[in-house]
Symmetry: C2
Subunit: 146 residues, 2 copies
């Protein structure tokens, strides 16, 4: 898998990582902060913060918002492998909710399952207090600007 992965110094991802570009608005809204990228291993870690604005009637973080965090971490991993002029579009996201999550800190981790030329399969986990609260299986495609 590692052989398929490239990282260009002038890619969108590299520029965001260096601070030359702001992160995407949704990442900031979700309190996202990338903490580790390992393209050899095909993994990316990102912290998140769920504010009170994301709570459901039960006073827990809404599942769809946990899904937005999982979309962020899985799409960022694919984005880390892109050349300049490419971006990642998520085609499907299958989410499982294992435990309730409360407002506060969460930790996301994405693992490349298969990096095809056009299509990427990525697995994501979201943790709170060291326990997995939600998982994702994402299918993404690489879109090239024409």
């Amino acid at each position: 898998m590692a052989a398929d992965i490239t990282s260009a110094a002038e890619s969108y991802f590299a520029r965001v990582r260096r601070g030359d570009l702001p992160p995407p608005p949704v990442s900031t809204t979700l309190g996202g902060r990338i903490t580790a990228v390992d393209l050899e291993a095909g993994t990316l870690d990102s912290d998140y913060h769920a504010g009170e604005a994301f709570l459901n009637p039960a006073g827990q973080v809404q599942g769809g918002v946990l899904g937005a965090m999982l979309d962020d971490v899985t799409a960022f991993l694919v984005t880390a492998t892109l050349a300049p002029g490419e971006h990642c579009a998520t085609l499907s996201l299958n989410l499982s909710f294992l435990r309730p999550a409360r407002a506060g800190a969460l930790q996301g981790r994405a693992q490349l399952v298969r990096r095809g030329r056009e299509v990427c399969h990525v697995a994501g986990d979201l943790l709170q207090d060291g326990r997995v609260v939600a998982t994702a299986a994402a299918v993404c495609t690489v879109v090239r600007k024409r």
Copy 2:
């Protein structure tokens, strides 16, 4: 299906609909506003608004955020069928992204596929400009306060 559906005047949903209780924070954050409920038909409609804070690197509404809207509309439909003291917990959410969505107005619709005693299957569609941008298949469970 209609025979399985109950709606109690003092349920959480009825109190939110009457304005006796505020909507859940996440619904407000997503610009959610329920526009129609038909428990005979097993449907619920809700409008949403995606602000700039929800955009991804491509300048489109992040898929996970569309998923949060779909979680909201499907869970609200289940909630509309609950007795006082019950709430809806989403177990899984399978999302497909059909078209990009831009910031602005979106329309959600949920349809009960099966309302079991404990487990509910719900289908959701999210539209923009009359076209479906994302779909959801949700599995929810009814949680009773002990």
